[in-house]
């Protein structure tokens, strides 16, 4: 009951934060003088193509870019009537991409899901790798197990992602016959979901997951190891030993529970850093995630596309922190009952 109330409360604050973030995103994108259309108009005028100018001016009116900034913002989020009444984020209209000359939703639609898929796979990879390795490294600290896993971890941290991607592609293709580039076989693109498509996607996911996840996993492993080492010195570990618990069970039941807190709290940070970190990887690997689209949009001041993608990343971050907050509350009674006297 208490958890539910807390989750509800967090949801409210999350929505408020999202509103604030949307304003920040919109105004920061609009900080440089002009916008995509005025740039285009200037370029067209300079080259004397007056026909295009009329079209651009029409678009400018169509998308209310000639109105004051605050009004533009309100129209964008859907809290103010535009030329065609209320039609913004709130109503599910994500705007028009000038660069691609398509509705934003058509450009990012499928990429959105693939982005979530790739990054969830990477997060899962991070946790699945970091948890056992971190615990093992701490339990066998200063032995070859510790040194080896640390060495591999640092290697993972230090190797640039795109380099790792290229190496893995080469060897993955050569020895395991793994596909190169993309998130599914080209002939399946645009096809409806089928077993073959799912299989193809999963096969294509292996290398990107590994590439995007390694550095995160290495960092997470080191953090977990350090936390565990701190916990292993605590008196309650001694108490558990004095009860006659076997070392493995003791490790799992007591220090690991304590060391898990920062581990869980990281979920929120992990998502956005992976999405922004995977932009370059996506370009190199040719993944159809929103990364490459974001890059283009930001370069050409394609404000609706860029704004939507940034807002989406912010939403993921907020969901991540909310999930980790609620999980922490479930995990740690001190947080759950912190205020109870």
């Amino acid at each position: 009951m208490m958890i539910l109330r807390y989750a509800l409360y967090r949801l409210m604050t999350m929505l408020l934060t999202l509103l604030l973030v949307s304003a920040l995103i919109f105004f920061i994108i609009n900080l440089p003088p002009g916008n995509y259309l005025t740039n285009q108009i200037m370029e067209l005028q300079a080259t004397g193509q007056d026909a295009g100018v009329a079209k651009a001016e029409f678009l400018q009116h169509e998308y209310s870019l000639d109105r004051p900034l605050i009004e533009q913002y309100l129209i964008w989020i859907g809290a103010w009537p535009g030329p065609y009444g209320f039609s913004g984020m709130l109503q599910g209209d994500f705007g028009w991409s000038f660069e691609f000359d398509q509705p934003v939703i058509d450009i990012v639609g499928q990429a959105l899901w693939l982005t979530i898929l790739v990054n969830l796979a990477a997060v899962l990879f991070v946790y699945l790798v970091a948890l056992p390795l971190g615990v093992l490294a701490a339990a066998r600290s200063q032995t070859w197990v510790d040194y080896t896993s640390s060495f591999i971890g640092y290697l993972g941290l230090a190797t640039p992602n795109f380099l790792l991607a290229l190496i893995l592609f080469y060897y993955g293709q050569r020895y395991f016959d793994l596909p190169i580039g993309g998130l599914m076989a080209p002939e399946l693109e645009g096809e409806p979901m089928s077993m073959a498509k799912v299989k193809s996607i999963l096969l294509h996911l292996i290398i990107p997951t590994f590439v995007i996840g390694t550095s995160g996993a290495a960092a997470m492993m080191q953090r977990l190891r350090a936390n565990m080492l701190d916990e292993l010195d605590k008196p309650y570990v001694e108490t558990a030993m004095a009860k006659g618990l076997s070392p493995t069970r003791m490790l799992m039941k007591y220090p690991l529970r304590m060391a898990l807190n920062p581990f869980v709290a990281d979920i929120g940070n992990l998502l956005p850093s992976m999405i922004s970190g995977s932009v370059l990887v996506s370009v190199v690997l040719g993944l159809q995630t929103i990364g490459p689209a974001l890059l283009t949009a930001l370069k050409s001041q394609d404000q609706f596309l860029a704004g939507f993608i940034l807002l989406f990343v912010a939403l993921l971050t907020l969901i991540g922190t909310m999930v980790s907050d609620v999980l922490l509350m479930l995990l740690d009674p001190r947080i759950r009952y912190g205020g109870r006297k």
């Binding site: 409360y9 001694e238 108490t239 004095a242 009860k243 006659g244 995990l331 009674p333 001190r334």
Partner: protein, 590 residues
């Protein structure tokens, strides 16, 4: 016939060639209590862990034997395999640790942590185990065992947690209980109750107990056998009565001399006259807000201090005594202006005779800085109150630096001067705190407080983290400095023996109120209030013929309902402080 537990010539070392403990031998019969006495670093804890087989990884047992007789069979604990040892741990031999707060996992329910012992060592149903744990909880004195079972450690007080630890150690009915300073982290009244509990359980089950302690008073109350250890070696061992009544080894004698005791009744001393006050606290109350469970509900108000008046005469020592949570530290913080009292309370500070007193909580910035120069604090824990990353010289000159006193070389001279004043050597200026022992660090923190040449020193439990012999030296030092430099002390402590030595006047606080106030000789010779009596009764005395009177402790330290009518708090009807004889005030109905 071999003894139940036999430790022979045990030698344990770490990496260095010199062993940490060397040739330690002792033996113990069933139903007996063996006290291992020694100061920190004497190796007493290490010896105990060796018996339980939970030494730190780096420790090596170089030689010796540990034999224990379980179910008629003699087992050599140093030779059995780890899985077999695990069956013994917690079942036949169990241990209670020093800090109950840190020795229980904060994330697991207390009941589950206790039940785990039975889950490991007994084959019974979950339901049966829970019943056993609840029964044990009743046995160790939990008023509401079901609630205690479901509570998390952070929801309980230190004394209650130590009871849970005892329940955990006792639940499997072990043959040997090792208690490692089980009461050091507790208040005297709680300590008395916990010791009484261990004793009761021992008579009930006939187990053997090893009690590790540095407090000879505890030894006198508990032990049949005594082993005195120093620097890893046994100095003296034998029957408790013999060792305590006629200590043979000079080290044991030294420990005895250092042990603080409440003096026998002496002649009547007038309280210091209250005409030249350096500090005058009037009507001090302090209410704290605790965050409530949900943001919707209003905050919970906690009254930490209620209507306290304290007057400190110039050149004297006023001690405030009470258990944890009695509000004594809050009083100290208010006296220094670190905390604002509730409306209506005033704190007046008068730097010199005849000067106009200033009000501590409404000072201008410049006056505040001047006040801070004249009033300094000595903290409880010398290990955490000195910055580990600053050399001693920087720690000592920092206050001068902040107040812009003197040139760089003058500051250094002053640092040298105070260092020598507290009995340390000038060559230590460039060292870091970790290079000093506990007693030396407390000297350093006194030196730090003295650099600005203050008039008032607030000492918040300055000796409670120290060994007895060191404690004695620090008290000597504080007395000497006070008399030579005309300082006045506001001395916060929970230890009546310490207070009886240094104070000119003592105020006993309980739950935010002063219940009795008198000069120490009056207070100890003629305590009136049941709570004061409980405090005095709970103070362990290193005399085997004067055991702690547990009934008296329970009576006074319990809820105020158990007090005689004259002292009882009745809802909002709180008895006033009455002056029974000159300078002796007691909170009672007239």
């Amino acid at each position: 016939m071999t003894a139940f537990l036999e430790v022979q010539n045990l030698t344990i070392g770490f990496k260095a060639p010199e062993p940490i403990i060397e040739n330690v031998s002792f033996s113990l019969e069933k139903g007996e209590t063996l006290a291992i006495v020694g100061e920190s670093g004497s190796g007493k804890t290490l010896s105990c862990r060796a018996i339980l087989g939970i030494l730190p990884k780096a420790a090596q047992i170089r030689s010796g034997k540990i034999n224990v007789t379980l179910e008629g069979k003699c087992i050599s604990l140093l030779d059995i395999s780890e899985p077999k040892f695990r069956n013994i741990r917690g079942d036949c031999i169990s241990m209670i640790f020093q800090e109950p707060m840190r020795s229980l996992s904060p994330l697991h329910k207390v009941g589950h942590q206790v039940a785990e012992v039975l889950e490991l060592h007994r084959n019974c149903s979950k339901h049966q185990i829970k019943q056993d744990v609840l029964a044990q909880f009743v046995r160790v004195g939990f008023p509401d065992p079901e609630r205690a079972y479901a509570a998390y450690p952070f929801e309980m007080s230190g004394g209650m947690l130590q009871r849970a630890m005892i329940a955990m150690a006792m639940i499997a009915k072990p043959d040997l209980l090792i208690a490692d300073e089980p009461t050091t982290a507790l208040d005297v009244t709680t300590q008395a109750q916990v010791l009484g509990l261990i004793k009761d359980l021992q008579t009930e089950t006939g187990m053997a107990v090893i009690l590790v302690t540095h407090d000879l008073g505890v030894v006198a109350n508990m032990a049949d056998q005594v082993v005195v250890m120093n620097k890893g070696r046994v100095m003296e061992r034998g029957d408790a009565k013999l060792v305590l009544s006629s200590p043979a080894h000079p080290y044991t004698k030294k420990l005895f001399d250092a042990a603080p005791i409440i003096p026998e009744a002496t002649e009547f001393v007038c309280p210091p006259p209250h005409d030249d006050l350096i500090l005058d606290m009037q009507n001090i109350s302090k209410t704290f807000q605790a965050r409530s469970a949900s943001p919707m509900k209003s905050a919970i108000l906690i009254k930490a201090v209620c209507d306290v008046d304290l007057k400190l005469a110039r050149g004297k020592t006023l001690a405030v005594v009470g258990e944890s949570g009695s509000g004594k530290s809050t009083c100290a913080r208010i006296a220094l202006g670190a905390e604002l009292p509730d409306k209506g309370g005033t704190v007046m500070f008068c730097a010199g005779t005849g000067e106009t007193p200033i009000e501590v909580h409404s000072l201008s910035r410049a006056n505040r800085s001047r006040f801070q120069k004249q009033a300094q604090m000595v903290f409880q824990d010398p290990f955490s109150s000195l910055s580990p990353r600053m050399q001693i010289i920087d720690t000592l000159t920092e206050p001068l630096d902040i107040h812009g006193v003197g040139t760089k070389s003058e500051r250094k001279d002053r640092a040298l001067e105070v260092l020598e004043l507290v009995g340390l050597d000038g060559s230590m200026l460039r060292r870091y705190p970790h290079a000093f022992s506990g007693g030396q660090r407390q000297r350093l923190s006194i030196a730090r407080a003295l650099t600005l040449d203050p008039k008032l020193l607030v000492c918040d439990e300055p000796t409670s983290a120290l060994d007895v012999s060191v404690q004695d030296q620090i008290l000597d030092l504080l007395e000497e400095i006070r008399d030579h430099h005309g300082l006045s002390y506001l001395f916060i402590s929970h230890d009546l023996a310490v207070v009886s030595r240094i104070a000119d006047e003592v105020a006993v606080m309980r739950r935010g109120r002063i219940v009795e106030q008198a000069p120490p000789c009056t207070l100890f010779a003629n305590p009136k209030h049941p709570y004061t009596r409980a405090l005095i009764a709970a103070q362990p005395d290193p005399d085997i013929n004067r055991p702690i009177d547990l009934n008296m402790v329970a009576l006074g330290a319990g809820a105020s309902d158990s007090w005689a009518d004259a002292f009882r708090f009745d809802g909002n009807n709180i008895p006033p402080l009455m002056e029974l004889e000159p300078g002796h005030m007691v909170r009672c109905h007239g």
